[in-house]
Symmetry: C2
Subunit: 187 residues, 2 copies
DNA sequence: GAATTAACCTACTATTTTAGTCAGGAATTC
DNA sequence: GAATTCCTGACTAAAATAGTAGGTTAATTC
């Protein structure tokens, strides 16, 4: 099991949008440069995110992408679903073809497990990550270094105005990442 | 994001082992026939499961595979980890190469998310699925139909002896599976 | 002890997915 | 009208997945 880079890129990019949301649209060129992802590839991903109604594109100079909804209403699950299209279901597609006529156990197992997984990922929102203490400041610091000056300026103003209020931070789970963890979800 | 068939096959096969565990070893040929998976492919998966210490092979006639530990001590996460090898981590491997010297946000985000996902999958054991009411009986019924007679016989005896006690059943979540759910985890 | 069963092992192959490139067009701002 | 940025579709190389094939070894049964 793994999270494709497609999914990872998307979540990361959306996080970037969420962090800079109050400061205005973020261009894909910025994200591309900052995260070392091909611009064209990002465009493909954002085409899907836009079709899913997660982001809004703003054309022309000063344009870019913004979140279509508040970060608190966008879950990790939604992001991943919009870029990963895996529509085909279990081996026995609904009617159960496990050699006999009866519905096979497998189907129920997977719908159950997938439902639980989806519920889990639905419970994590972009906002929960943005709201963690230090994140906006760290992001600003980084932006300045790589030359996202205009954005950094707008963002700094936003921070000063207290837009990035630090609220209930999520369970950080700082313990060292084991090999197992990496295998499960980070590709 | 998706669960590879590699992972899905493995979990399903392990579930089969768990259901028939008290009745003796299960052959890969049986699983192959029942689930329509290539025998050779199953062998490759079980080689990994064995190396991970999740199953024990029993050679010769009447042999097959058994769980190396009680089903209650084998989590879905362990199974998936043993067959999926994705060792490479996030883009910035530890030191953070997001154009500047500082550790990028992304890394923390993913270790955090992956830890949570792993914890989630670690919390689900094979036993939880086997113990759901009706599963052993349904499995027996199916086994009979496709000709797993010897196994079915042993299993029926086991059921009669009350080996498959129905204990606390897990949250079944019967609601219809949405497209979203399939996209998230079932490939 | 020969035949059978079934685990165990290694190498190869086709298909699909991923990740990326390229080449352009359309809206917006200056 | 020139620059900027989104937006679109078609193509491509590399990697992972899923499956094949052909064999060896250990235990059991006859």
């Amino acid at each position: 099991m793994r999270l494709s880079t497609k999914g990872r890129y998307s979540v990361t990019a959306m996080l970037d949008l969420a962090i800079h949301d109050k400061a205005g649209p973020v261009t894909l060129a910025d994200i591309s440069q900052c995260q070392g992802i091909s611009l064209s590839y990002l465009e493909q991903l954002f085409a899907r995110l836009r079709k899913s109604g997660l982001v809004k594109g703003v054309r022309g100079p000063g344009g870019g992408y913004r979140l279509a909804r508040p970060a608190s209403e966008i879950s990790i699950a939604e992001i991943i679903c919009s870029v990963d299209e895996n529509v085909d279901v279990t081996r026995c597609k609904g009617q159960g073809n496990c050699q006999d006529g009866s519905k096979c156990l497998t189907h129920e197992l997977w719908t159950n497990l997938s439902t639980k997984l989806h519920e889990f990922l639905s419970g994590i929102t972009l906002a929960q990550f943005v709201e963690r203490p230090g994140i906006p400041e760290l992001s600003l610091q980084r932006d300045k270094k790589i030359g996202r000056f205009i954005l950094a300026k707008k963002q700094a103003a936003a921070i000063n105005q207290g837009v990035f209020a630090v609220s209930k931070n999520i369970n950080t789970n700082e313990r060292a990442s084991t090999g197992l963890v990496d295998k499960v979800s980070v590709r």
